[in-house]
Amino acid sequence: MSMTISDNMETVYQKPATLTETPMHYCPGCGHGVVHRVLMEVIEEMGIAEQTIGVAPVGCSVFAYHYMNVDMQAAPHGRASAVATGVRRVLPEKYVYSYQGDGDLAAIGTGETIHTVNRGENILMVFVNNGIYGMTGGQMAPTSLCGMVTSTSPYGRDEHVMGHPLKITEMIAQLPGAYYVARHAVHTPTAVRKLKKAFKTSFEMQKQKKGTCFIEVVSNCPSGWKMTPVEANDWMEKNMFPYYPLGDIKVPATMK
């Protein structure tokens, strides 16, 4: 079936120009692609592409700089927020964001994450939590759920041996440097719209030099979880959301 696009039709949705034409390498259905697009849409709509610098991580989103059509810098594993700190301090008038997975931000980069937020660095930290090390073959992450089977927890995560899933977002929200902290998702159109608003708010706060805005996106890893994308999103809703509930975690008084 193909419908013709007649003269009386207008384009109501298209890929933002702030995404490059390079096809993304992500597995089918991977949430990273949606998070990239939502972030780039906000940057396009705010007209700040020329003033924005992103910092890419190590993880599946290591090639974010191939897709995001803004100035970008790659960081070593876990160090994106430290690199973003450097960028922020050298270029105080730019919009700066870091983009990291859970292995990156909440395992090897825990120290950088805590101290960046504790300093209240005036950046947006985007944290994509899929509860696993996607890139390296689905190993257990600090965020993997109790009982979750991964390549390094083949009998399921046992919290008595392997510790509890780390709610790093709630942790860092306690720090005075954290200005706006929220948890979102990208599995439905409504969730996508809410995330978009949170990114926009974060850049607006950054312009006012308010401190660290930290947005977690609970996402999927169909390959690491060994599910189809539709099954993965379903599993995420039933298992990830109860432990990592969506919504605002710390909001400035002006937003309440």
Partner: protein, 86 residues
Amino acid sequence: MISGTVTIATEICKGCELCIVSCPQDSLGLSPSINHKGFRFAQLVQDNCTGCTNCALVCPDSAITVYRETKSSKRASNPLVASQAA
């Protein structure tokens, strides 16, 4: 009912089906054939798209462009509204 349509970049699509399950109209389905990457791709299977953009919002590969009938064209084609406007 507002009428709309979508175009899908079939060589970009990875057949994840997330657009298909997000469509309130059941307008989308997977192709019988495969693209150069080896994926069956999403395509319109019914002529009832409303241009709601749901599918495009959840597509990880930004493969979908959405079009909708403009309000002015709707008005022109609706004699009641047209006469009121006159």
